[in-house]
Amino acid sequence: MSGPVELLGVAASGLLVLVAVAVSWWVGLGLGRDLIEASLRALVQLALLGLILAAMIAPGQPLALSWLWVAVMVLFAGWTVHRRIPDVPRLWLLSMAAFAASAAVTLGVLFGAGVFPVEGRTVVPLAGLMIGNSMTATVLVTRRIMAEFKDKRLEIEARLALGQPSSQAAAPYLREALRTALIPQIETTKAVGIVFLPGMMVGLLLAGVTPVGAVQAQVVIMYLVLGSVAVTTSVIALGMRRILFTSAHQLHLPNDEAR
């Protein structure tokens, strides 16, 4: 056995997918095919991930390989953000810069303080967790900024017309968008342990780690996510200001030609 769950156990858990499909059929949702497809896809992706992780963290493998994978994750996450919000120019580059900055800060603290040893088995999962959460937050904050700027275009231009530089004119609206993006993360952090048990902690408990050990690891991960989301969204906000204003402090919203 390579973990707390046997292969047969994994197969048995597939029954739960069948339950979901049955519910979908019974209620008439028409999502049966999607449920099966998503479950199989996740299974294949995770199996591939397991294989790659096993190869990377095998003893004797160079650490550079792990960092290379982190770089690929940053690239892919940036592309995903761009694909979800294609109308914002240079967003791919900006989000990659944000993920890289966030990785440097959060992993720098965790590894610098010796919380985890710098090894393939820590670098890849921690970076993956950080980038995954940051990606969701990036999409949310970018959409929020675009919506806020479109909604408050007149106010922003009124500020510019008063001679405020773009940094000052944009500040209240960027702040509002950042707050909106960060509040769900803060709420999730507040509810942890009361409303829900985080997946990672459940995984550790099932793997036989003591509750105290599981809690310690979960706290570190939670703070990693919180810190990375804060750093990423701040970099995105600063970058969006550069994207949405010209050097002559003119507001330039993509696909908005209302004058």
């Binding site: 231009e157 530089p165 209240p172």
Partner: protein, 228 residues
Amino acid sequence: MSVRAATMIRPLPTPEPDGAVFSFDRVSVRFGQSEVLHDVDLEVAGSGITAVLGSSGSGKSTLTRLCNRLLDATSGTVRLRGTDVRELDVLQLRHTVGMVFQRPTLFDGSVGDNLAATGVTDRDAHREVLGSVGLDADFLPRDSATLSGGEAQRACLARTLLMRPRVLVADEPTASLDEAAARTLEGLARRLADDGVPILWVTHDLAQVERIADRRVTLEAGRVVAVA
């Protein structure tokens, strides 16, 4: 002229009451495929009120936005008292060319907060400028969201005047106001113009032009069709 000299930011030009305050030299503005202003040649007088009359979509608002560089022309040159606006420091230009928008755009907070957004925080100056637009000092702590349309537009004008602009550009400032509030604003504009601040006043209301304008420019489909 060297490249360095050509790109240097120039000091703001000194007012010459007899010269044109704005000159538009073959100015065109294009948004994507649609051209909103076509080859506009226009001189806006350095005193009094110049009204720009035109129907919706004629390019009036676009014309005003060129004056303080909220927008740049796609081609052609806009000059402030003879100097290309792109050669001036844009933030200083916007202090010089005050702007009032069609819809009152007060920011969240009190009227005092709105006046402080100009960078002028002196309370006496706030009281004085409010008085000049017919609002008393009791308005200073008032939440901007509680003001009527007319009061809000006057507060916006006060906010602009607090910067002591040398020119005022007003983009249909009475469009969302009732008749009485519109007349009050017209009176304020006349007083300002008489005090030496030239005004470019955009409107689609012919009767208003008759009441306040010293000169009239008519725009149609992005072209100047008449100057009177």
